[in-house]
Symmetry: C2
Subunit: 348 residues, 2 copies
């Protein structure tokens, strides 16, 4: 461990996150649901979407951007179709409620879909896929996001770098989980290369005129490119139509930015599709097929022998399994900030 | 019209396709279902997946690779969960049956998912999304495919260039439909560049050692690269898990190639997810939101003023609307071949 970090057990970090949330006005159960998502994000190594988000979440709750006393409404429109109105509540809390409502419905109907509106940033997708997989559900989960990319062939910000994820359970083993945004590279990576005065690879970004560039500084003024060009653009549009438009939430430029307008509701939309795999075959059937599938993938000759071929999410699960034994490492500054936030009743 | 083409009305091409199929042993209703999918493919300009496929389809039926007398089984595992066994029937026929079964279920349950196994190449995804959108359903539809790509970081063919598509209805207007495979470029494009002795762009393909190449000839011996590298690889894996593994069909290298082994069942898997948008709001509500969404996208300043920003599927719908008025253009050779196949009873 380096000097600038602090290592906690999963239980200790969960307790810390819950205390911060309770101190911000959430009740015990709400804090538990939210903390579970954020701590799973840290376990998976997705630390930009983990407990570090408690800073902006609690800031926004304090200034009324997120509704601390949200009355989350769950409406059953049809046996397999659920609509959740988050009442501008905390994203991971709204998300967890929607996930559990859809899991409950799919128990009977085999498949269920929850459309969510009136939500906020809900963390990464992987924790939700993981929780569902543990209970035997395959998933497709997605959200829209603050607009940061331009439509294909355009040069104005219109569309979020919308995350989408899928999970398939592998009983007795780690699930297969994909959690991705739709840009080729994250803006943070371009920022790092610009600082180092390096160029960026072809295909990552355009300049502010929508023209391809390998100049990192120009790219920062321009637009992130989606994976596969028009294909990733198309996926981002479809995710926004499903999560934003059909759910009744905001979409495209109507989505508010938590960074530029932290005091405003984002009105994000999400979808949670749950598939009850237990109705498709026995646990033994699923284990045998998943083991066979994983074996075929793992046996692929690697281009670089030091880097064996992996399944989606495998690296994240390795991180999780490792951190569950050895503890989760946070930057010391973040740890101390969270600690302060548990005692900071006057500010809540 | 050039000399080497023949132009037919939608009705005439549909009738021609139906006759070919009936002559191959399908009954009238089966021929109608199949022809509808293939002719829609041609209308959308997806001619590599349209009536031209009747050549390989009927060849495979003749040699027993596809079961002409398939007894397609539709099983309701739970109110919103359907499993279809295609009995090695014609792909578009199995697909159409699964689509309609899932639409029927989602009428009541709001959302329904059909898993399909024992199928064959089912044409493009767009026609299914279109048919569902006409009836008010949003869709996610996908299939696995003959393995042609290598897992990320590998150098052996393991995975199909699995197509996935989404559709959202826009009542009174063309739907928004995305239909994509997961490679950056099609192999046919690389073949054309190799013939012309030209290089291919970075990021399209690797050589046979899994290393990036811009040499078209080397790329033909190597592997297509998925969109967004590990992201597209991840999507291809998740599509195979959903369509192949969970459906009970074959997956990865277990999928048989219709080109290399035309006399063998492919045992492909598909999924059809249907969402009844009529339960989410009134038709007026959906029209207003879809018009607003389309307006925001279309109003984006274009990088090249001659190429305005489009929604997914817009180009294909323009083609369809145009061909419905002016007729569908086929290569004359294909037209004459199909014509022969309507009289070719002795061969069926």
């Amino acid at each position: 461990m380096t000097q600038g970090t602090h290592c906690l057990s999963t239980e200790a970090l969960t307790e810390l996150a819950e205390k911060v949330l309770i101190n911000s006005g959430l009740d015990k159960l709400e804090a538990q649901h939210t903390a579970e998502i954020l701590v799973l994000a840290d376990l998976f190594g997705l630390s930009t979407h983990g407990v570090s988000r408690l800073i902006s979440y609690t800031d926004r709750m304090r200034i009324g951007g997120i509704n601390v006393k949200a009355n989350i409404q769950i409406e059953t429109l049809a046996p397999a179709l659920i609509r959740v109105d988050g009442d501008n509540g905390l994203g991971p809390l709204v998300g967890a409620r929607a996930l559990h409502a859809a899991m409950h419905a799919a128990q009977q109907t085999g498949v269920a879909l929850a459309f969510v509106r009136g939500s906020n940033h809900f963390g990464p997708v992987a924790p939700y896929c993981h929780i569902a997989a543990q209970a035997g559900f395959a998933t497709m989960i997605a959200s829209n996001a603050t607009p940061t990319i331009t439509p294909w062939g355009g040069k104005q910000t219109r569309l979020g770098n919308n995350p989408i994820g899928f999970g398939v359970p592998r009983p007795g083993n780690d699930a297969v989980v994909l959690d991705m945004a739709l840009s080729v590279a994250a803006r943070a990576k371009i920022r790092d290369l610009a600082k180092a005065n390096l160029s960026i690879p072809e295909g990552w970004a355009t300049n502010d005129q929508g023209q391809p560039t390998t100049n990192a500084a120009e790219a920062l003024k321009g637009f992130l490119l989606p994976v596969g060009g028009h294909k990733g653009y198309g996926l981002a549009i479809m995710v926004d139509l499903l999560t934003g438009l059909l759910s009744g939430a905001s979409y495209l430029t109507k989505v508010s930015s938590w960074q530029d307008a932290p005091d405003m509701p984002q009105d994000l939309g999400h979808i949670f599709l749950l598939i009850n795999t237990k109705l498709l075959g026995s646990t033994e059937w699923l284990i045998e097929r998943m083991n066979n599938f994983a074996g075929i993938v793992h046996d692929t000759q690697a281009t670089d022998a030091k880097n064996p071929v992996l399944l989606p999410g495998e690296r994240e699960y390795q991180r999780k399994n490792d951190q569950q034994i050895h503890g989760i490492t946070l930057p010391k500054e973040l740890y101390q900030q969270l600690l302060t936030m548990t005692n900071d009743k006057g500010n809540a």
